[in-house]
Symmetry: C2
Subunit: 199 residues, 2 copies
């Protein structure tokens, strides 16, 4: 991967049409995720992020689990598009699950009372940074990914299915695979209203 | 800047000792910030992030404003280290102020009631992504930066001083400049406890 930082930032997009035939080894996937987890910063270097990468049958199970949980709450006559989405995500090669360990966040809150209300916010910001670096890292290696948020619908069952600690709060799901379609043009609003340089 | 994405991610660190003699033009600084704001993703492509870059006298004013507001709440006998910090940040070349436009977030909440509670969280995650990309972008160009959070202490005065919209919520401050000292070794915890690959 020889993309510059700027090129990688420009190239990263949401890919919803993904397949299982990827050109990357499972070890290379692990390297991308571990590299991101290692180098992305966290408040007070608390390293509160946790990541589970589901591949093969485990990946398939996640999207079947999500499908069945959604079936309980989405009206049957509206389930078609939801079902299609589950099929699309399941068609990918794997899913990265992002968590924040609330044991760490609560520990910081107990230790540094002055910032009590800030630690959960900083934890979310750090998770955002990590999601971004994994996403861009996968994209730079030729994979396609998107960011999904079925947190409330699946969190308990995910922890049960993969025996994860109770204190790991589920933040996002990133299904990824071989990109199967070109992405659409993205709509960028004018920057003048969003960036000011003064002085 | 020819660093690869991975190299840039590895190199980014917090720099607290910074000076004003930078080798980058103000236009190049603007490019780094605009590039990040343009390409960093946001929930529903809502583009809720706002950035103000303060340079020269405006940068100095920010840290004098922060100093005077802190002087009102930090006990006089403990003010020495706080005062030193203000001097250190003011010694930099500029500061990037990160905001999230609550008019956008509230608009999404009104429009998509199902995700009402999620939009403020996703806005914080997106701001984290943006902070990260600006930070790493500055670092990749040879600048040193750190992330500060004097939000509650300065938000109202900052909006008054630079005539910013009431709905812009201040999220973070990033003073930057010429790095004046080598950074310390960073403490990385073991990855086995933080990353699982299953399947």
């Amino acid at each position: 991967m020889n993309k510059s930082f700027n090129e990688a930032v420009e190239a990263r997009r949401s890919h919803y049409a993904i397949g299982k035939e990827i050109a990357l080894s499972d070890d290379a996937l692990r390297d991308i995720v571990e590299h991101a987890v290692k180098f992305v910063p966290s408040a007070f270097n608390s390293q509160s992020s946790r990541v589970v990468v589901l591949l093969n049958d485990e990946h398939d199970s996640l999207w079947e689990l999500t499908r069945e949980n959604l079936r309980k709450i989405v009206p049957e006559e509206a389930f078609g598009p939801t079902n299609d989405k589950m099929n699309a995500f399941k068609s990918g090669y794997g899913t990265v699950l992002f968590f924040e360990d609330q044991a760490i966040v609560e520990g910081l809150q107990a230790q540094f009372g002055l910032y009590k209300d800030n630690f959960p916010v900083w934890s979310q910001q750090s998770s955002g940074m990590l999601q971004y670096v994994v996403w861009t890292g996968l994209d730079a290696e030729g994979l396609g990914a998107s960011l999904q948020h079925y947190n409330e619908v699946i969190e308990n069952d995910v922890k049960k299915a993969w025996s994860l600690p109770e204190k790991w709060k589920l933040i996002a799901q990133m299904p990824f695979g071989k990109p199967l379609a070109a992405v659409n043009e993205k709509d960028f609003g004018p920057l003048e209203a969003r960036v000011k340089v003064l002085g």
